[in-house]
C-alpha cells in the first residue's frame, strides 16, 4: 500500500512573525522555515504505518519554491521513500493546491493521503476537504487516532463536543490533528542517506495547466493591535472610580 503525504514549507511555528513595513506580507528574510507542524505529524503517522507493515511506500509531495526541497529532504531523512516538488514561486490558494494534488493522486494511485488539517501560515483548513471532494473519496478530518484494517481506516476525530470515531473506506483522505503523534527527531546519518533518495522536481504549471481559479488575492497584511498596558490600582474605590470614568459601570 502506498501513502501520499503533502507537506508545506512555512515560517516556523515558534517564530514571532513581523509584518513587512509596506503591508505586503510577513518578513521571511533570515527567518526559520520548517515543515508545517500538522504535516510533520502526517509524515510521522505514515512512517509508523509503514513500520507496522501496513504500508510499503511513503511518498511526500510539496508545492512551493525551490527551497522547499529542504523540507522534502527532512521528510526523506525521517524515513519517507520518495519526494516530489511542484515548483511555484507564488502563494497557492487551497483550491489550486487541491487540484494539483489531485493530479499527483491520479498518477501515484495511493490508498491513503495523510495531510495536515491546516497550514499555520494561512490557516485555511480547506485543502484536505477539497482534495477528497475532487477525488470523490471519503475523508476523515482532525484525526487524533488512526488505525487501518481490512481496507478501512478507523479514525478518532476531535470535534467540538468531544471525540467521534468513524470508519472510512480506502482510498481516503485523512487530515491530522495535533494529538495524533509526536514526530521523531531526524538522525544525521539518515540525512546523509536521504541524499540518495529520489527527489523529483517539476513546475506546478505542468500538473495544473493554465489553472485560472486564483480568484483570491490578499491586499493587505496588518499586525494585531498591541494589548493596552494595564494599570495598577491601590484600592477597590479607585477601581470603581476608574471604571465609572471609562463608562464601563454606571
Amino acid at each position: 500500500m502506498k501513502i501520499l503525504v503533502p507537506i508545506k514549507r512555512v515560517v516556523d511555528y515558534n517564530v514571532r512573525v513581523q509584518v513587512k513595513p509596506d503591508g505586503s506580507g510577513v518578513a521571511t528574510d533570515g527567518v526559520k522555515m520548517s515543515i508545517n507542524p500538522f504535516d510533520e505529524i502526517a509524515i510521522e503517522e505514515a512512517l509508523r504505518l509503514k513500520e507496522q507493515g501496513k504500508a510499503d511506500e511513503v511518498v511526500v509531495v510539496s508545492i512551493g519554491p525551490d527551497e522547499a526541497q529542504q523540507q522534502l529532504r527532512t521528510a526523506l531523512a525521517m524515513g519517507a521513500d520518495r519526494a516530489i516538488l511542484l515548483q511555484s514561486g507564488e502563494a497557492v490558494q487551497p483550491l489550486q493546491a487541491a487540484n494539483a494534488l489531485l493530479k499527483i493522486v491520479q498518477e501515484e494511485q495511493p490508498e491513503l493521503v495523510i495531510m495536515g488539517k491546516q497550514a499555520i501560515d494561512d490557516d485555511n483548513n480547506q485543502t484536505p476537504q477539497m482534495l477528497a471532494t475532487l477525488w470523490d473519496r471519503p475523508q476523515a478530518t482532525f484525526v487524533s487516532k488512526l488505525s487501518l484494517e481490512n481496507n478501512k481506516a478507523t479514525a478518532t476525530r476531535e470535534v467540538d463536543a468531544g471525540l467521534e470515531t468513524i470508519e472510512v473506506e480506502l482510498p481516503a483522505v485523512i487530515s491530522t490533528d495535533l494529538r495524533l503523534n509526536e514526530p521523531r527527531f531526524v538522525k544525521l546519518p539518515d540525512i546523509m542517506k536521504a541524499k540518495r533518495k529520489p527527489l523529483e522536481t517539476r513546475p506546478l504549471s505542468d500538473v495544473t495547466g493554465d489553472f485560472s481559479e486564483q480568484e483570491l488575492t490578499i491586499t493587505q497584511y496588518e499586525a494585531p493591535q498591541p494589548r493596552q498596558k494595564g494599570v495598577m490600582v491601590e484600592s477597590v474605590d479607585e477601581l470603581i472610580t476608574l471604571l465609572k470614568e471609562k463608562g464601563l459601570v454606571a
Binding site: 511555528y13 517564530v15 533570515g30 520548517s34 507542524p37 527527531f185 544525521l188
Partner: protein
C-alpha cells in the same frame, strides 16, 4: 536598631523612598539563589530614581549603615544576601525602559529592568539582545552588569560587558558618575565603566545603563552529537568552530543524560550509549550552511569521534533537544549536589577533568560526579552528588576537602574559581587561587577609593584581611 527607629529614620531622611520592615519581606529580600546563609536584613528600600539612591547612600554614610545592592536575586554566589542587618536596596521599582535611539542602537534602561524585558524590547525593534540564560525572566540588567553575566551564547556574542555602552552609578560616597555616555570610541584614560562591570555591588550602585542592541541572528538549528571520548570533544569543537557559525557548544556526560531522562521523562535520544554528548547551536539559514553542517558531521563520523547525531527540524525540536542540557541542574537537585562553576582555557578542559576525576576516584570512590558545561567557553559545571547513605553534614565536610583539590588544580592550570557566577560570599575564601595577592591588594585600594566608609556590600568579594 528597633524596627520603629529604622522606620522613623527612613521616613525622616529619605521620605520619598518606599521601604518595608515586615519580617516576610525581610527574609525574601535578604536571599538570592544560594541557601547557605541565614537571612538577616533590617529594611528593604525601593528607590525609584538615581537621586533617591544617592539620598540612601548619603544617609548610610552618615549613620554608618551597610547597604546590599539587590537585583533579581538570582545570583549563585550570595552576592545579594543580607546576613548582618543591612538595608537591602532593591531595584525592583526602577524598571523603566527607553528611550531607544535607532541610529545609535542604544536603549536606556533603569537597573531594575529584567533581562527578559530587554530581550523583548529588542525584539519589538527588530533587533536582538543576545545575553540569555535560564534566569533571564527575573534577573535584572543591573545585576547582570554587576556580575558580568554570561550564559548560553557567550561563545558567539560575549558577556554582558560587551553590550554596556554607558552607565550611571552612585558611588559609595554618594557621588553620581555618568560613565562613557554611549560612546563607541572613547580613549580618555581609565575606563571606569569596565571597572564597574563585574564589581558585585562593592564599588557603586548601578542605577541606569545604555545597552547596545544588535542585528538579530540568522535562522539556527541545534545538533545533538554522541561522542566517543573526551579527546574527541576537543577535536569536534575545533572542527565545528572551523566549519560552522556556532553560537553554543555545550557538553554533558552520559550520567547527566540519564538523570535528565529520568527526571523529565524524556526518551533516549540515541539507541546506543556514548560517554559524552555535545549540543551545538549554529546558523542554519541556507543550503551552504546545510552542506557545511553535513560535511562537519561526516568528517567526525569517519574519524570515529562522532558516533551518532540528531538535527532539529524545527524550533520546537531545537527546544526539545536543549532540554537534555538545560534540565540537568534541576534533575540532580534532589541529591544535594556539591556545585562548582569554574573555568580553564578551552584547551585545558580535558586535562582538568581527567586529573580531577582521578583524584575523586582515588579519595572519594563513593562519589558520583556529573559533568556538564559551556565547554566552548572553557566553563565547566562540576556537580558531585551526595551518596544516599551519607548525612548532609558529613557530605559537606568532605566537600570542603574536595575544594582543596579542585582549587589547587585550577591554580596550577591558571584557571578561574568562578567562571560566571561571581565571588560574593561563596567564593571569597578561594579568590587567591585565581588572583594574586598583589591584585587583591589593588582591588582593596580601589574599593577604598570608591567606598571609603565601606557602606556598599561589606564582606562580599574581597577576602577578609
Amino acid at each position: 536598631m528597633s524596627p520603629v527607629d529604622t522606620e522613623t529614620l527612613l521616613q525622616t531622611h529619605v521620605p520619598e523612598v518606599a521601604f518595608s520592615t515586615a519580617p516576610d519581606a525581610l527574609v525574601h529580600y535578604a536571599c538570592d539563589w544560594t541557601r547557605f546563609h541565614t537571612p538577616q536584613a533590617e529594611a528593604v528600600l525601593w528607590p525609584r530614581t538615581t537621586g533617591q539612591v544617592q539620598q540612601i547612600v548619603r544617609l548610610a554614610n552618615a549613620i554608618g549603615k551597610a547597604l546590599v545592592p539587590s537585583g533579581g536575586r538570582t545570583g549563585y554566589s550570595a552576592g545579594a544576601v543580607a546576613t548582618a542587618g543591612e538595608w537591602v536596596v532593591s531595584m525592583d521599582k526602577m524598571r523603566q525602559i527607553g528611550p531607544f535611539d535607532p541610529v545609535d542602537r542604544l536603549v536606556s534602561v533603569q537597573a531594575g529592568v529584567a533581562t527578559g524585558q530587554l530581550q523583548e524590547f529588542a525584539h519589538a525593534q527588530g533587533l536582538f539582545y543576545p545575553v540569555d540564560f535560564a534566569s533571564a525572566g527575573s534577573s535584572q540588567i543591573g545585576g547582570n552588569i554587576a556580575t558580568n553575566a554570561g550564559g548560553i551564547r557567550v561563545l558567539r556574542y560575549g558577556t554582558t560587558r560587551d553590550y554596556v555602552a554607558g552607565l550611571t552609578v552612585v558611588t559609595g560616597t554618594g557621588e553620581i558618575l555618568r560613565l562613557n555616555n554611549g560612546l563607541v570610541k572613547n580613549a580618555t584614560g581609565l575606563d571606569l565603566r569596565h571597572l564597574m562591570i563585574g564589581s558585585e555591588g562593592v564599588l557603586g550602585i548601578i542605577t541606569e545603563a545604555q545597552m547596545r542592541l544588535i542585528d538579530p541572528p540568522a535562522a539556527s538549528s541545534v545538533m545533538l552529537l554522541a561522542l566517543s571520548s573526551l579527546d574527541a570533544v576537543m577535536r569536534v569543537f575545533a572542527q565545528a568552530r572551523g566549519k560552522l557559525t556556532l553560537s553554543s557548544f555545550e557538553l554533558f556526560s552520559h550520567l547527566a543524560l540519564q538523570y535528565v531522562m529520568n527526571h523529565r521523562q524524556l526518551a533516549a535520544p540515541f539507541s546506543g550509549e556514548s560517554p559524552w554528548y555535545v549540543l551545538l547551536e549554529f546558523d542554519h539559514a541556507s543550503d551552504t550552511d546545510e552542506d557545511a553542517a553535513m560535511a562537519f558531521f561526516e568528517t567526525g563520523l569517519e574519524s570515529g569521534d562522532i558516533e551518532d547525531g540528531i538535527l532539529s527540524g524545527s524550533l520546537e525540536q531545537a527546544r526539545q533537544l536543549w532540554q537534555y542540557r538545560e534540565g540537568i541542574s534541576e534533575s540532580i537537585a534532589e541529591h544535594t549536589p556539591y556545585k562548582n562553576d569554574i573555568a580553564v582555557r578551552i584547551s585545558q578542559v580535558p586535562t582538568f577533568m581527567r586529573q580531577l576525576d582521578a583524584v575523586l576516584k582515588q579519595h572519594y570512590p563513593g562519589f558520583e560526579t556529573v559533568w556538564f558545561g559551556h565547554i566552548g567557553d572553557g566553563n565547566l559545571h562540576l556537580n558531585i552528588l551526595k551518596p544516599e547513605d551519607m548525612d548532609v553534614a558529613e557530605f559537606q565536610r568532605q566537600c570542603e576537602a574536595v575544594n582543596t583539590h579542585v582549587y589547587g588544580l585550577i591554580e596550577s592550570l591558571e584557571g578561574s574559581v568562578s567562571a560566571e557566577h561571581g565571588v560574593g560570599l561563596l567564593k571569597k575564601p578561594y579568590l587567591h587561587h585565581s588572583r594574586s595577592q598583589t591584585e587583591i591588594a589593588l582591588m582593596r585600594q580601589i574599593k577604598q577609593a570608591f567606598d571609603p566608609n565601606g557602606v556598599l556590600n561589606p564582606g562580599k568579594m574581597l577576602p577578609d584581611s
